[in-house]
């Protein structure tokens, strides 16, 4: 069955609503010297849509983008020049991790862990976040590790083995 039998007529309205929501996050991020233009916001929505399509997911509303901005805008590793592109990467990483962690983590918990790893273990490296930390987290969850968020202990156990 087609998930959308016909072209969803609210799509355009939904995009403009999402763009406005994203622009409103500038009120907070401005305090950290970060802002997004309407084009940047539109680009984020498009990135989200493409990622969802590529990963076989569906999202209701645009809450995720707003939550990611809220969580990451105070990071010392993000500068205005790469603000928009960093957010695009973070959106991709988020949805990729949702799939890899089998939807077992809530949005809020996953964003919180991403922020924590980005700040403390990756020191602002998106590559490390995506290819090392998220992979470890996903593996811990898939293997039913109780302390799944603790990536160090799991690594040690792996070395001991």
């Amino acid at each position: 069955m087609e998930i959308f039998p016909t072209l969803f007529p609210l799509e355009k309205t939904a995009i403009s609503l999402a763009v406005n929501q994203i622009i409103r996050t500038n009120d907070k991020s401005l305090r950290y010297g970060l802002t997004l233009s309407p084009q940047d916001a539109l680009q984020l929505v498009e990135t989200r849509n493409e990622t969802l399509l590529a990963l076989g997911r569906i999202e209701v509303g645009s809450a995720t983008i707003g939550k990611i901005i809220e969580a990451f805008c105070d990071s010392a590793f993000i500068q205005q020049e790469e603000y928009s592109s960093t957010l695009q990467e973070l959106i991709e990483i988020f949805f990729y991790a949702k799939n890899e962690t089998l939807d077992l983590l809530s949005d809020d918990e996953l964003i919180e862990l991403m922020k924590d790893y980005y700040e403390h273990r990756c020191r602002g490296s998106l590559e490390l976040l995506k290819y090392r930390e998220m992979e470890l987290l996903a593996r811990n969850i898939r293997f039913g590790c109780k302390d799944y968020a603790n990536l160090d202990d799991c690594l040690d156990e792996e070395v001991e083995e």
Partner: protein, 449 residues
Amino acid sequence: MKEIVMPQKIDPAKLNRHQYTLSLLNEGIKTGLLSAERAEHLQTELMILLSKAIPKYTRHESSSVPTEIAQSILQSLLYNIDLYLYNLPSPELAIAELHSSTISECFHRGTEITAALVQDAKQLWRLALGTMLDVSLTAYTETISSGFTDFFYRYDGKYAAHSTGVVVDYPLLFDDMDCMGIVYVKNYLQSLVLENKLCNEYPGHEVQRLLTNCGKQFNLLSAELMVNLADIILKNSLAAIILGRSAQNLSLTGRDCQELTELLLELSWQDCCSCIRQALNTLLCQLNLEGSDLCQYLLSYPDLLFPQLQNALDNNALSGFFVIVPEQEANETVHYLPGDRLSDEELRLVIEALEYFQDGASKADFVLAKVKNIDDLLEILGAFRFYKQEFFALYSQLSDSDLALLSKHCCSEYTDHEPDFSWKVQLVKYLESVPVRKKMILDLAKKLK
């Protein structure tokens, strides 16, 4: 003046029972009963309903889900909407409902129907458990006793209403596999209860014997068979009727099977079908099932049977079509186990009460209900003056084994001076009127101890 164009009616044949709402939207647009704008608006409402359902499904922990989950939730929403619209008296009324109600309202009314169906299905399940036959057939007993427990515990009428997560190994006579969710489960249980009702018309030990012989026939453990009890009972019961026996006589020997083959091969295919239909009517009559739900259910049984029968006749394989008593068992001695005797006073009351019945059939019913022992029956036959046609009514209702016992007594006590109204003379006349049954009864009488 502007010409008034009457909207066309929707052809129900063009509607898909399993995607009712979507096919109704399509047909509604085609017939002009629904505008394209309204259909588009309804689809938008459906998507809004989905967008509200997803966060509820994730308990507001996630705003996104995998596409398969979204599809499944959408299917569940449509399943409930389908149920509501399908249960309206006509497709036109369903279209009118789509004009006057929102998709969300239709969904909520659908969930009420789903909840009611769950309650109905639970009731039917209890009924199926209560009427379950005491036979050793794993697929049957496991399906009824444990197959539905998990289903009723886990069934989610809102977000997975279309899911049929139930282990039903036992095959039914008629199983509509196109249905899904609670509709399938309710239909299954409804049919199962009806089939139980039919099987309970036969003595439990006879059904178990039939099942055991069926296992022997296929060289399998009877408990592991994947057969439908009603099916094997009906086949042998219909064969018994064609051979002139009582419907409740389920024993068929190889010789009976040969006789049936000869009998059916003599008939044209059309006559053969009529013969089966007639036998089914006799069966329904003998079991007092006429006009019941079970009767309605069984009326289409011949359609199921005919292709199998034709195949069996074409390949001269009727012995695999029926359940045959193995030769060894057929030659065995049959032991008569008498039931409780009536006291002299009870016997006197039964004989006196017989005066008040108008016809032979009701007298026969009364005697069979009261008497459980051949000696009591002999007492009644000797003491009460039945009319000749009443004897026939009584004998036709007696089982083969009862008649065999009577024949044994008749042979030992028969004299040349028996009056015409004697039960013995009438028994001889009755047996002569049913030659096929007579042979069977005399064979049985020889084995009786």
